[in-house]
């Protein structure tokens, strides 16, 4: 057998072995056996020195071709086996993607806080400042300076937790009206403020009454602030909180610190005004009280009612939350049952 035949045999045998190899270990053995320093190909090529100078290049060329072919076959086979092995491994790693994900610790803001934050953010975006007052208030700010002198019948409307004859748990966030009016420098422009906070009434807790609840007071006082501005502002609030198709209507009402005073109703968001159980078939839901700041309130806080005027409103986040989510018992808000709290995942 001449050298060329030996090479051809080697090629044939090598290619078969490669073809038959089933794992990466075997293919590496073949590589060493065939192409290694002490491998078959090297062994065969040792016979080169015995052939004629004329034949040598041809055989050499053939030998190179065999080497390249075997190398390529080994690489190809190696890659295929590697791929197969990887596939096998991945298959073994397969998991049930329908198993639940690991829980992540994430708390929720209280539903009432969500409403407060929404209202506050809305007014802040309209250039209002946020004024937070004390919850233990002086009687003079809770009543007198709001045009509620002693013996005023409206004081019966809000039974009060007194601490001393001159100190009480505030029954409304309205004391901030008087405090801010006193503080504000009108030379620097109108006063636009919103005041969220807890308020207290001498009530027995039941499904619709709570001795503690929340209010958000709003007030704008400046030159040329009109009742139409109040209506427009309330419309913005209603639409941003309950939906952009809702309308607002005003009805006459009475608050000692505003005149004219109104109740504001919004289109029932449940039936869009057609009438349903939530709106007691009126198509409207009462959401807040408002009015034009009473001249006496301005006067008592040192603001000239001839020059300045404005509007004020007060809304109840507890009531808003009850309406918006259909909560039928106000006590839910203060029991803090986590099954309740977690129903109001904050969206957007």
């Amino acid at each position: 057998m001449d050298l060329k035949e030996k090479l051809a045999d080697l090629r044939q045998q090598g290619l078969e072995d490669i073809e038959n190899s089933q794992d990466l270990k075997r293919i590496n053995e073949i590589r060493v056996k065939m192409l290694g320093k002490k491998g078959n190909l090297t062994g065969v090529l040792r016979g080169m020195r015995d052939i004629s100078a004329e034949e040598r290049p041809k055989v050499g060329q053939f030998a190179n071709k065999v080497r390249d072919e075997l190398t390529a076959a080994i690489e190809e086979r190696h890659a295929a086996l590697e791929q197969a092995a990887l596939n096998e491994k991945l298959k073994a790693e397969t998991i049930d993607v329908t198993l639940p994900g690991s829980p992540v610790a994430q708390g929720q803001p209280h539903v009432i806080q969500q409403i407060i934050d929404q209202v506050v953010d809305l007014f802040v975006s309209m250039g209002y400042e946020v004024a937070v007052g004390d919850e233990v208030e002086q009687e003079v700010y809770n009543f007198e300076k709001l045009n509620l002198p002693k013996d005023h019948p409206a004081r019966d409307m809000q039974d009060t937790f007194y601490v001393t004859p001159s100190v009480l748990m505030r029954t409304q966030t309205s004391p901030m009206q008087a405090r801010m009016l006193e503080k504000h420098d009108f030379a620097k422009g109108p006063l636009k403020m919103i005041s969220p906070g807890k308020v207290y009434r001498r009530d027995t807790d039941d499904a619709t009454h709570s001795h503690q609840f929340n209010q958000i007071e709003g007030m704008v006082v400046g030159k040329h602030i009109t009742m139409a501005d109040l209506k427009g502002t309330l419309k913005v609030v209603a639409r941003s909180l309950f939906g952009d198709k809702l309308d607002v209507r005003l009805r006459p009402s009475y608050f000692p610190f505003t005149e004219p005073s109104v109740e504001a109703d919004i289109t029932c968001f449940n039936c869009m005004g057609k009438g349903c159980a939530i709106c007691k078939h009126t198509g409207w839901i009462e959401v807040l009280g408002a009015g034009m700041v009473h001249p006496n309130v301005l006067k008592m806080s040192g603001v000239d009612p001839e020059e300045y005027g404005g509007f004020a409103f007060g809304l109840g986040p507890d009531r808003f939350a009850m309406l918006k989510y259909g909560v039928d018992d106000i006590r839910n808000f203060y029991q803090n049952d986590v099954r309740f709290l977690n129903q109001f995942d904050e969206k957007g």
């Binding site: 198993l99 639940p100 690991s102 829980p103 992540v104 610790a105 994430q106 708390g107 929720q108 803001p109 209280h110 009432i112 934050d117 802040v124 975006s125 309209m126 250039g127 209002y128 400042e129 946020v130 004390d134 233990v136 208030e137 002086q138 019948p153 409206a154 019966d156 409307m157 937790f161 007194y162 601490v163 001393t164 100190v167 748990m169 422009g189 109108p190 636009k192 807890k198 009530d203 001795h211 009109t226 009742m227 139409a228 501005d229 209506k231 502002t233 607002v248 209507r249 005003l250 009805r251 009475y254 005149e259 004219p260 034009m292 001249p295 203060y334 803090n336 049952d337 986590v338 977690n342």
Partner: protein, 805 residues
């Protein structure tokens, strides 16, 4: 006020459905509670005439009645009412009728005898005991003898009238009368009211002043006081039309004298009181304050103990009536009364309100006195009542009114500017439009033809004092629906949250991001709970003067105790994993008029922070998990000072071995730890970890500014060290030494293992740290690190007798 639609129609040419009228009232005047008819939900109730009656053979009280219902043959009805009589016209529920409480009447047999309906009492067709006449309490109501059998009973009983139940705000006392309603409704529909006043004919020769005298000392307490006397009356039932007016207004008919006073009260809003003249202790009337502790028996039979600021009407100085509130026993008009002394007065609203409130004697009268009385109609009402009593109960009206005091009925003048009106309302009304509104309101209105209007407000609108009150009149009559909706024209300045408000909001977000749900608890609690868990205890909480419930008597001085109540509520309802935080005020009395209000942040966790899961081991909350939350939160604040956690055994509500005070430099800012098991038991909660922080201190504390630190390009080298130390050696002691001796290149010390137990000698524990070294400007060599590390190990060996493992 329950306003009868038919009554209104007597005085107004109304061309609207009652429901539309109610809606208009709600939008223009006062709120509406309800619109209803007494006939709502009822059907097939007709006039029946009992034509024959026999005893039921199987009963000792039932009767078998033949009832003419206007058809060819009478129907047979079995009836158990004791007062059923042949010849009477009665309310008959036919087969298929609906009576009160949605009960359906069906043909059937009663003890074997066929019955084709039911004969009804007023209560059985929905009249409450508050309005059904007492005479018929025991049985059937008898319809008028001329009622036509087979006709619906509704029109005979006024039950087809629609009642508009208004909710009158405290300022609109004028709307507590038909008179006021008529005037207001006339204004908003631009109608001309034809309200009828009835004049009195004095048909007795005797002068009233011969029979009674009045002496009023205090015209502030009793601005108006007037009396008339009607002699020779015969007390009996009122005619049905009058009874209907009353029961449709929610008032029970009593007799023809009392009913007249109530009718006039409804018509004019003027309360009247009728005395049995002959039962009075004398004839000299007066009004005075009660004597402290004076006893007085009201006509409901209750003995009242009076106070010095109560107001009583007296006769010969003996109280006969709680002024404006309730009459006395023995002097009220009864069936045997023949001479009536009739009182029309105005009493001080505040005195009446306080008296009615204190004695819980709210009535139609007191409600009206509290909200004010129209001085212009006191005499009108007194005259009309006297005339009606004369007509309905016979008798003669004596000559003249005896007047003790009299408040003049004055109109007020208020000057308005058209420009200001439009400036306040945001409208562009013309002078003519505003004039027209006041014409409709029947207010006087003079203008200068340019901008100024002089408005004359009649006495019947005593709620109006200033221009703003008139703006409201203009706005509501013009219609709130017609107001434009605009936004205030805002110039320059910007709003926004203050630093303080942003701090609080960020604190809330941090807590939520770390898995705690926001709770809102009550600020008012018990004294004991208010005192618990204070950061820096104050002796006593602020207490309410007159609490409503024993659970809410004092203001909280910590937030934790409220959170524990929340946890208890959850646990009691089967929720075992609870992680709550609350941000809010605590109230610390510090000697001032009001307590100091501090913003605090507190958290409480029981069970597990993360719910059980197939994939991880349970991890019940422990001190370190909660501490991790607090540490992360405090880290986020970027405090410039040094934070330390100092073991604390002084807090009686806390586990003495698992509680730390949180110090910012030398200042106590809060604490963290496990609730003492005994305290947890008293709250009925399992192991719970809590913290509370004083946000005031944290807000005030200096902060570090955020500054960029370049990240070193050079590699870091780490060394692990495990040391065996005595149990009482703390992590803080070890890290302090490492940091002190670590050298310039020590960047971080990380505790990665703590072990004490079986494999270690008793009283010893093992702590293992990774120390990271890095030079910001060069590559560190192994030698440099080895040198630095050796210093650390030596210091630990020397100072803590640590054994390096």
């Amino acid at each position: 006020m329950k306003v009868s639609y038919q009554w209104l129609k007597e005085y107004l040419d109304l061309d609207v459905e009652p429901r539309d009228l109610a809606e208009k009232i709600a939008r223009t005047s006062v709120d509406i509670n309800d619109v209803y008819s007494l006939s709502d939900g009822l059907k097939k109730l007709v006039v029946g005439e009992v034509v024959a009656m026999e005893d039921h053979p199987n009963s000792d009280h039932l009767h078998i009645c033949q009832v003419n219902i206007g058809e060819d043959d009478p129907i047979q009805v079995v009836c158990g009412a004791p007062n059923v009589q042949v010849g009477k016209k009665v309310i008959t529920a036919l087969n298929g009728a609906r009576i009160a409480d949605n009960v359906k009447i069906k043909r059937g047999k009663i003890r074997g005898v066929e019955s084709n309906g039911m004969l009804c009492a007023l209560q059985e067709i929905g009249f409450s005991d508050k309005i059904a006449p007492k005479d018929y309490d025991e049985g059937l109501y008898f319809l008028p003898d001329d009622a036509k059998p087979g006709d619906s009973v509704f029109s005979y009983l006024g039950m087809d009238d629609t009642i508009i139940d208004t909710d009158v705000t405290p300022n609109r006392g004028d709307m507590l009368s038909i008179y006021g309603n008529v005037n207001d409704i006339a204004a908003f529909y631009d109608l001309k009211p034809h309200f009828k006043e009835v004049a009195v004919e004095e048909n007795d020769d005797q002068a009233t002043s011969d029979l009674v005298s009045v002496d009023i000392d205090d015209s502030k307490a009793t601005p108006t006081y007037k009396l008339r006397v009607i002699k020779g009356v015969k007390v009996a039932d009122s005619p049905l039309w009058l009874q209907i007016r009353l029961w449709n207004s929610g008032i029970r008919p009593i007799n023809n004298v009392v009913d007249v006073t109530n009718y006039v009260l409804l018509k004019y809003g003027q309360p009247l009181y009728s005395y049995d003249y002959d039962a009075l202790p004398g004839h000299d009337f007066g009004v005075r304050h009660a004597k402290e502790g004076e006893k007085f028996t009201t006509l409901d039979g209750d003995e009242q103990t009076l106070k010095a600021n109560d107001l009583v009407v007296t006769v010969n100085d003996q109280p006969v009536c709680l002024a404006g509130t309730m009459g006395g026993e023995g002097t009220a008009v009864s069936d045997s009364t023949t001479t009536v002394a009739l009182e029309a007065a105005i009493f001080d609203p505040v005195m009446v309100r306080k008296q009615a409130r204190r004695l819980d004697l709210h009535s139609e009268s007191s409600m009206r006195f509290e909200r004010g009385i129209n001085p212009a109609t006191v005499e009108t009402a007194l005259n009309e009542a006297a005339e009606m009593i004369k007509e309905l109960a016979g008798g003669t009206v004596t000559k003249g009114i005896v007047t003790g005091s009299e408040k003049p009925a004055q109109s007020k003048q208020i000057v308005l500017s058209l420009a200001k009106i439009n400036d306040v309302l945001g409208t562009s009304l013309s002078l003519a439009e505003v004039e027209d509104i006041f014409r409709r309101l029947q207010f006087g209105c003079e203008t200068d033809g340019a901008d100024q209007l002089t408005i004359t407000v009649p006495a019947r609108r005593w709620d109006i004092f200033v221009a703003a009150d008139l703006y409201e009149e203009i706005a509501r009559i013009y219609g709130y629906d017609n107001l434009p909706a605009t936004l205030p024209v805002m110039t320059r300045d910007h709003g926004g949250l203050t630093e303080r408000q942003r701090f609080i909001r960020a604190s809330r977000h941090d807590m939520e991001g770390m898995g705690l749900d926001q709770a809102l608890s009550y600020s008012l609690t018990t004294v004991e709970l208010a005192k618990q868990f204070q950061i820096d205890p104050v002796a006593k909480p602020m207490k309410l003067d007159f609490p409503m419930s024993s659970d809410h008597v004092a203001t909280r001085m910590s937030i934790i105790s409220g959170l524990l109540l929340d946890i208890a509520y959850n646990v009691a309802h089967g929720v075992d994993n609870v992680a709550l935080y609350e941000e809010g005020r605590v109230f610390l009395p510090k000697g001032g008029e009001r307590p100091e209000e501090q913003e605090h942040l507190a958290g409480a966790i029981t069970g597990q922070l993360l719910t059980n899961d197939w994939h991880h081991d349970d991890r019940p909350v422990d001190f370190y998990q909660l501490k991790g939350i607090v540490e992360r939160y405090l880290h986020n604040l970027g405090l410039a000072g040094k934070l330390t956690y100092v073991a604390d055994q002084s807090r009686s509500e806390m586990h003495p071995g698992r509680t730390a005070n949180i110090m910012l430099d030398d200042q106590l800012i809060g604490f963290i730890g496990q609730v003492h098991p005994a305290v947890a038991k008293s709250f009925k909660i399992p192991a719970t970890y809590v913290f509370e922080l004083n946000l005031e201190s944290l807000m005030a504390a200096p902060k570090v500014a955020n500054v960029y630190h370049p990240i070193s390009k050079y590699p870091s080298i780490t060394r692990d060290i495990a040391l065996l130390v005595d149990q009482d050696v703390t992590n803080e002691m070890v890290t302090a030494i490492i940091n002190k001796r670590g050298g310039a290149f020590l960047k971080q010390v990380h505790l990665f293992d703590v072990y004490s137990g079986l494999h270690l000698p008793k009283g010893k524990k093992s702590l293992a740290y990774t120390l990271t070294y890095q030079d910001d400007h060069d590559t560190l060599t192994e030698d440099q690190v080895n040198t630095a590390f050796t210093k650390v190990t030596k210091a630990l060996e020397d100072q803590l007798s640590a054994e390096i493992r």
